[in-house]
């Protein structure tokens, strides 16, 4: 598991001439900040930190937390649940120590916020009716949202317009096309959730 920053997309060529779209992630180095154990915390997990931050920007309790494992203060902390933990606090995780070419990974991130959107964009509705024959203002509407006297209410979970995006999205089975350890870069086939410079979690499957 790793934390990374999405840098953007580009394309690369395979040896057979295929043009492959890919996403470049600056992944790690991450430090293991804390290990949660069954005895002490009731569950097992690893907390890892990504990106150094000056000590003056961190609160005193936080500094104590980092000191305990002997790592420098980090900007982003994230806990990953896992059944058996072999890592120890203070350990440094780099891209090339975890992933290699051909691996499958799961990438999670916060999707781009799109604000208040109608049903066509948000739920892929097809709109109502035609644009001619006197119909003037209903092209992007949801249509009927239920029947009449029975049940006399709108069912819960009815898909309607509203806030779209800005949620955590995971994509599984993404292929690692390349790892560039000198620059801590990870190249993944296809697109991943989130905007450029957003933080993503990478888990090896």
């Amino acid at each position: 598991m790793l934390l990374g920053r999405k840098l953007g997309m580009t394309s690369i060529f395979s040896q057979t001439g295929e043009y492959i779209p890919c996403t470049v992630i600056e992944a790690g180095p991450c430090a293991v900040v804390q290990v949660r154990s069954k005895e002490k915390d009731g569950y097992t997990a690893v907390q890892i930190g990504f990106e150094d931050i000056p000590e003056r920007k961190v609160s005193q309790p936080q500094i104590g937390h980092f000191k305990k494992s002997g790592v420098s203060p980090k900007r982003h902390l994230k806990e990953f649940r896992s059944d058996k933990v072999t890592l120890t606090p203070g350990e440094i995780l780099t891209v090339d120590s975890i992933l290699q070419k051909g691996d499958k990974v799961k990438v999670s991130g916060t999707s781009k916020g799109r604000g208040f959107q109608g049903v066509m964009k948000r739920h892929h509705f097809s709109g109502v009716g035609m644009s001619s024959h006197g119909q003037s203002d209903r092209q992007r509407h949801p249509g009927s949202i239920g029947s009449s006297s029975f049940p006399s209410r709108v069912f819960k979970g009815m898909r309607m317009a509203g806030r779209m995006g800005g949620t955590t999205i995971s994509i599984r089975n993404l292929e690692v096309l390349d790892v560039m350890p000198e620059q801590n870069l990870l190249i993944i086939k296809g697109s991943i959730p989130g905007s450029i410079n957003s933080i993503v979690e990478i888990v090896k499957l």
């Binding site: 580009t10 690369i12 060529f13 001439g17 560039m180």
Partner: protein
């Protein structure tokens, strides 16, 4: 952005190395060609197990893009039918680019050549 450029550079280099490896006559040289030039593109065609080289000769209509995403567009007239192909500049299927005639044109994109007869194209690009 610069780190993405680094990735592109690495793969541009990889593509160049791959071409050098495949080229029997030594190093692959990327000629400096412009729209209006007449070029021969050696394309590797893979048919099942076998691999052969097919040449595509025509006039460069346009170049676009930068880095690994750069492409160029070549047009030829084959049996009276205009044929246009877009090649990615660093595609591994290209095994050679040769400029056989320099053209002299004033535009960067020569899309106006499309409707013209061969004689008129000759007049326009020289």
């Amino acid at each position: 952005m610069s780190k993405i450029l680094l990735v592109e550079q690495k793969y541009v280099q990889a593509a160049t190395d791959f071409r050098n490896l495949k080229n029997e006559s030594g190093k692959f040289e990327m000629p400096d060609f412009r729209p209006g030039d007449t070029v021969i593109i050696a394309v590797r065609v893979i048919e099942g197990e076998k691999e052969r080289i097919q040449n595509f000769q025509g006039i460069v209509l346009a170049r676009r893009g930068s880095g690994i995403n750069a492409t160029f567009r070549v047009r030829k007239i084959s049996n009276g039918v205009g044929v246009e192909r877009i090649f990615p500049l660093f595609s591994p299927i290209i095994s050679g680019i040769e400029v056989i005639k320099r053209g002299s044109v004033r535009r960067a994109k020569l899309y106006y050549l499309r409707g013209m007869s061969e004689r008129k194209i000759r007049a326009k690009t020289s």
